[in-house]
């Protein structure tokens, strides 16, 4: 896909999103309410309208081939880059999905091992050290010092003794 094609697709998607926002805003009154002032939906409605007009402007420039992006025939995301970015983004998505099941202390070490060992090609020694040290530091800092309880999923029971000691 070229940058030019990506520009078209993005403008269409964002235009559609703007229309959705306009419709959604219009669930509240968008006009003037006597004795009350502007309706609750008017502010986001008119802003979404400007978004839609901007997308129209981007499309207009696209059709008359104006600007660096609208005329670029380069590949939008080079294939070797796409692999790297997809691996990183994908591993993040999987990690977040796992938060709710095996908890942050189950998912985070997996993520760190994957990133350091398989993407970064670091030694097992370094990988394992960081995969253990980082979650421990996070536990101390967030759960004990800041008292912010992070998602645990099925690992919750293992933390009850720890809570008893620290909290």
């Amino acid at each position: 896909m070229t940058v030019r094609t990506a520009e078209l697709l993005m403008a269409i998607m964002m235009g559609a999103f703007s229309i959705y926002l306009m419709v959604k805003s219009a669930e509240l009154p968008i006009g003037w309410i006597e004795e009350e002032g502007p309706g609750g939906g008017s502010w986001p409605f008119w802003l979404a309208t400007i978004m839609l007009i901007s997308c129209g402007g981007i499309l207009f420039n696209w059709f008359r081939k104006k600007g660096r992006i609208a005329t670029s025939t380069k590949t939008y995301i080079e294939s070797h880059v796409l692999g790297d970015v997809a691996a990183v983004a994908g591993s993040l998505i999987i990690t977040v999905a796992l938060f709710s099941f095996i908890g942050i202390y189950g998912a985070l070490p997996l993520f760190l091992v994957f990133y350091l060992r398989f993407l970064g090609k670091h030694s097992w020694g370094l990988t394992m050290t960081l995969a253990v040290v980082i979650p421990v530091v996070i536990f101390y800092f967030f759960e004990i010092t800041l008292k912010i309880i992070l998602p645990k999923g099925i690992t919750e029971p293992f933390f009850i003794p720890l809570y008893k000691i620290f909290l």
Partner: protein, 511 residues
């Protein structure tokens, strides 16, 4: 005048509390590190680390984040000079002459020049700040809803009129930020509003940190993955010889560059105040002017020390300058200060001129901390130059997972809702895809912070005027501000018309 000095002295008392002093030193060192790492700048550091500051009271938190901001401005120069890659966009101009100096074996001279110029820029601007801020805040005390809205319009208009990005994309970015800030509840009627796809997570709104960490954490790191490739690029690190004797020799030579350093400081400060401009254009402009006023302009680009000093002075001065409108008017002067402003809201402070009256210990603690941060950063920087050079050898693949971890937890911590973590990932990926198409993202972050302040200001104004927009033009302060905002907003249109009229004429003259 005396009153200001008295309050500044009070501020210093706050700064010299042991905890705050530690926060400044820690912040400066961390900022230097963040600034020095290619791909990370002050805005990324402040966005990712803001959730950690819930640990300390607001004054300590802002002092810490401001120190990071400051340190990152110094740190950016280190990788510009040593690697030839700007450590942050604000240090782009520093590569022009810093890199050639490093290649000539004079890396230490460039690094010391950058550090000293940053110190001078920081010092001049913080003094200007101390004496500008209180009168400005005093004037702003009479501002009502129409003035507040006019000021926000001015802030957004600078992006359209002075920003170098596509106008439609800039407008889009501003509006999407404002709309996202309207998600949740209508503040006046109390009805649920814009609950997208009826997902209940949207009922508590879109936290600005979710967008900021999404864009400046996740999105930025994806961007860096692309630029550096996962295998870790080959090192282009220059060698630097550092010794006390060479340091003193370099310092003696720096005295001669005072003119460009002072010019850069003043320019940076005033450019920094403008929301759309900030440190990057400020430092580029300072570089250009330093070249013009130089007696040997031909040396620029081949290792002129003035070419390092002027932009470095300017970017530090700009970071202080951008705090002026943030503190006095509640309008951030840069993406980083937008995040600081959002932080102030989280800490329970109401941004705006009332801060000087209601929370003077916060304001003056921050101002005094800038003096201290400036000095500490200089000392840490010069003392640990060899350490920071080593830091540049840290492989990106070690740093990246640590930053991602901080992002994931930082997105979760403020609301403790997984919905926000998912939203942050979406913002990160979409932001990355949009950035590849030159959509500017800073206006969206500014807008999501200002949105909750802009909407009530507009609606209250319209309620006062019974629906007439003339209220923005009839009042003493709001009128001129609004006119300037509109002029800036339509500047691109004027330029287009001017170009249309001018070009055929020029062709006719040529023919």
């Amino acid at each position: 005048m005396l009153e200001i000095l008295g309050q500044l002295a009070q501020g210093f008392l706050i700064v010299f509390e042991a905890q705050n002093l530690l926060l400044i030193i820690g912040g400066c060192a961390l900022g230097l590190f963040i600034g020095a790492m290619p791909g990370l700048g002050s805005v990324n550091g402040v966005a990712i680390l803001l959730p950690l500051t819930f640990l300390v009271p607001p004054t300590g938190a802002i002092i810490f984040l401001a120190a990071i901001y400051y340190g990152a401005m110094y740190g950016g120069a280190i990788s510009s000079i040593m690697l030839g890659i700007p450590g942050a966009s604000t240090a782009v101009a520093t590569t022009f002459d810093g890199r050639p100096l490093a290649k000539q074996g004079l890396a230490d001279k460039a690094l010391i020049g950058a550090a000293v110029a940053s110190f001078v820029g920081g010092s001049i601007s913080v003094v200007l700040f101390t004496f500008f801020a209180p009168p400005l805040a005093h004037v702003a005390l009479v501002f009502g809803a129409p003035e507040e809205f006019a000021l926000m319009m001015l802030a957004f208009a600078t992006f359209v009129g002075l920003g170098s990005d596509d106008i439609f994309k800039t407008l889009f970015s501003i509006c999407i930020g404002l709309v996202l800030s309207a998600v949740g509840f209508d503040i006046i009627s109390g009805e649920p509003r814009l609950v997208l796809w009826d997902i209940t997570g949207f009922l508590h709104g879109v936290n600005f940190l979710v967008l900021a960490i999404g864009i400046y954490g996740i999105g930025e790191m994806l961007w860096t993955v692309e630029e550096h490739a996962l295998g870790g690029g080959k090192s282009m690190l220059s060698e630097a010889t550092v010794s006390v004797a060479r340091t003193f020799a370099a310092l003696r030579e720096l005295v001669k560059t005072w003119k460009s350093t002072v010019m850069g400081s003043l320019l940076g400060y005033f450019v920094g105040i403008l929301p759309a401009a900030g440190a990057t254009p400020g430092s580029l402009m300072a570089y250009g002017i330093a070249k013009q006023i130089s007696r040997e302009p031909e040396k620029f680009g081949n290792g002129a020390i003035e070419g390092v000093c002027a932009p470095e002075a300017a970017n530090n001065a700009a970071s202080t300058g951008s705090m002026l409108p943030m503190l006095t008017l509640g309008i951030p002067g840069s993406p980083t200060t937008a995040i600081l402003l959002g932080g102030m809201v989280i800490w329970g402070l109401e941004p705006g001129p009332r801060l000087f009256v209601d929370h003077s210990e916060f304001v003056w603690g921050l101002i005094a901390s800038l003096y201290a941060a400036n000095l500490f950063t200089l000392l840490i920087n010069i003392a640990f130059i060899p350490v920071f050079i080593k830091v540049l050898k840290t492989p990106f693949t070690i740093l990246a997972p640590v930053i991602f971890t901080l992002c994931l937890i930082g997105g979760y911590a403020p609301t403790q809702d997984m919905h926000d973590v998912w939203l942050m990932i979406v913002f990160g990926i979409v932001g990355y895809l949009m950035r590849k198409l030159d959509y500017p993202l800073a206006p969206a972050v500014l807008a999501i912070v200002l949105g909750p302040l802009a909407e009530p200001a507009l609606r209250q104004s319209l309620i006062i005027s019974e629906g007439s927009f003339m209220i923005f033009f009839e009042r003493v302060y709001a009128g001129p501000i609004m006119v300037v905002a509109l002029l800036l907003l339509f500047l691109p249109v004027f330029k287009m018309i001017y170009d249309r009229v001018r070009k055929p004429q020029a062709e006719r003259n040529a023919g």
